[in-house]
């Protein structure tokens, strides 16, 4: 557990470093995600250098992700408490967000489904 937690924190740290050093728009944790993906592939079952660590990382990540929704509560509360900032334009903003998000979700899902037929099937 502790080793896996260390690896995840460490890769996030490296990600934050890369983001700052190269001054790129991609957030540190997203770079950390790519690095962790790299670690998992480099240690695919055939190679077996860090077999235990790989297994631990998978377990730790899955249990952390089980609570992913909870992690958005503090920032969501911040939104409610700062709604004043949208004063007078709140209805317009809600219209954009609701209709824009619905349209984007449907467009993307339908598009994915259409292109999916061209890929090899599962």
């Amino acid at each position: 557990m502790l080793k896996a937690a260390f690896l995840i924190l460490f890769l996030q740290l490296i990600g934050e470093f890369i983001q700052k050093y190269f001054e790129i728009n991609i957030p540190g944790p997203v770079i950390g995600l790519v690095l962790l993906l790299g670690f998992l592939f480099l240690n695919s079952p055939k190679r077996n250098h860090f077999k235990d660590l790989r297994q631990q990382v998978i377990q730790t990540s899955e249990s952390l992700l089980g609570y992913l929704s909870l992690l958005f509560v503090p920032i969501g509360v911040g939104v409610v408490m700062h709604l004043k900032l949208l004063e007078g334009q709140l209805l317009g903003v809600i219209a954009v967000i609701v209709f824009g998000t619905f349209a984007t979700m449907l467009f993307t899902a339908v598009l994915f489904h259409l292109f999916n037929r061209k890929d090899t099937d599962e």
Binding site: N25, P27, L64, V96, A103
Partner: protein, 243 residues
């Protein structure tokens, strides 16, 4: 000193401590999750949305400012970074399926990201939002740190963008399943991908609780559309004359 004053003094002490707000946050989430399950997983009773309402309702009733609340809630908030790194795991575990669908993934990533920007610009124009607000809305579909960076580049207000991005995530997470069921989109990969692309991390969290495969595609879409938007939006912005 009477009992009421003593209790009041203890409350004054406790509400200044992080422990109280941390407990309130986890408790509200558990309660919201219980209600969601008791309702037979009714999509509109999304646990994130309901627990946000519980917590912010309590803060308003007891007149607590957000900074005080956040002194406790920041311990939960901090875990968002490591959890984002951890999203590599569902992507890794579903890699075979993902590489089999690469054409769908790449084309939906590019076209979906462009569509999200254009539809936002279009509706903002119709409802006549003020230009700074409209610009702050443009990157709202992608994860907050990327959205805020892009917002700054195109002349929006990053703090507004943070709010608008989280609102987008909550709307997507709360209504996505409902919408896909209504339009009979059953493919879990397509549903997950749309969740991640249109409503970033909050949508991904929603997709993950529903189906692991959908979660993997959502995580992938969140990362890819974030990168695509960071590159495409500043370019596309030059052609959006309406602002």
């Amino acid at each position: 000193m009477n009992e009421v004053t003593r209790l009041y003094e203890i409350w004054v002490y406790l509400q200044a401590e992080p422990l109280f707000w941390l407990t309130l946050t986890v408790g509200s989430y558990l309660l919201a999750d219980y209600i969601y399950r008791a309702s037979g997983l009714f999509p509109l009773l999304n646990p994130v949305a309901i627990s946000i309402l519980f917590v912010s309702g309590s803060l308003i009733i007891f007149d607590i400012d957000y900074e005080r609340y956040f002194s406790g809630a920041k311990f939960i908030h901090f875990l968002l970074g490591p959890a984002t790194v951890a999203l590599a795991v569902p992507i890794y575990l579903n890699w075979k399926l993902i590489s089999a669908k690469r054409i769908a993934i790449i084309s939906s990533m590019i076209l979906g990201s462009i569509f999200a920007i254009l539809i936002t610009a279009f509706i903002s124009f119709i409802v006549q939002l003020d230009p700074t607000l409209a610009k702050s809305l443009l990157p709202r579909s992608v994860t907050a740190p990327i959205a805020m960076g892009v917002s700054e580049v195109i002349g929006g207000e990053p703090s507004l963008t943070a709010i608008l991005t989280v609102m987008t995530g909550i709307v997507g997470a709360a209504f996505g399943t409902f919408l896909f069921d209504l339009f009979k989109i059953k493919n879990m990969a397509a549903r997950g991908f749309a969740f991640g692309l249109a409503s970033h991390g909050i949508g991904t969290a929603r997709a993950l609780t529903k189906d692991k495969k959908a979660g993997a595609f959502a995580a992938l879409a969140m990362g890819l559309s974030g990168i695509a938007t960071a590159i495409l939006l500043p370019l596309l912005f030059h052609f959006l004359d309406i602002f």
